[in-house]
Amino acid sequence: MLRRALGLLPRPIAAARARSFSTDLPAAHTADATFMEAWNKVMPNTDPPKTPLSFMHPRPPTPSSIPPKLTVNFVLPYASELSTKEVDMVIVPATTGQMGVLPGHVATIAELKPGVLSVHEGSETTKYFVSSGFVFIHANSFADIIAVEAVPLDQIDANLVQKGLADFTQKLSSATTELEKAEAQIGIDVHSALNSALTG
């Protein structure tokens, strides 16, 4: 049965145009040749319109040796915290634990939990408390960190954190529906993360 299935495979693959993986595509965007010809026939004296793809900076290709620095893009919905900043290491609060990202890290997508993100550059460390988000680490030592809310640790008020923790612990014990329990649990998680960020 398997052999017959294997025999069926090559036909559809040959018929469909071979699709390359996104990592194998050429780094620079080349204009479509058939479009250019058709355009030049109709309007030879005007430049063709630019497509959105040509405005995008192509991702730098994966170098053959590990680069010395990690390039980090750290963005929030309302601001770009770090934009192609070269750093030595970042430690991100992934759901699977604190993850250290060094240049040459394997390509990874990680979901973030509420926690501390620290950016290490030379001898200085900048810490942010991140509410949640994702980190995309690419094979060419570029890391994109996207968070909904990220604040430097000194902007957090310890009293409000303690109060919130007490409130939500109390809400959890008095919660009835699944949704209320989940919300109370989220509150506890976030506030305990804030607490350990302030004390740790």
């Binding site: 509410s131 949640s132 809310e149 902007q155 957090i156 409000l160 989940a182 804030l194």
Partner: protein, 70 residues
């Protein structure tokens, strides 16, 4: 391959990731020190008007300024 890996507790309770993420962000904003807290909360305010349509005609629009808490 297990396609039903252990789901996070909020997903099991029927909450989507966006709701979870927004709740976390609001909780963090509420724990900020004073000037930053008012900046953050005012940044997240939304102000919009909704009009329902019935029989192809819009009814009177209602203005809403939802504060970020809900």
């Amino acid at each position: 391959m297990a396609s039903n890996a252990a789901v996070p507790f909020w997903r099991a309770a029927g909450m989507t990731y966006i709701t979870y993420s927004n709740i976390c962000a609001n909780l963090v904003r509420n724990c900020l020190k004073e000037p930053y807290k008012t900046e953050a909360l005012s940044r997240e305010k939304v102000h919009f008007s909704i009009s329902k349509w019935t029989d192809g005609k819009p009814e009177k629009p209602t203005l809403r300024s939802d504060s970020p808490e809900e």
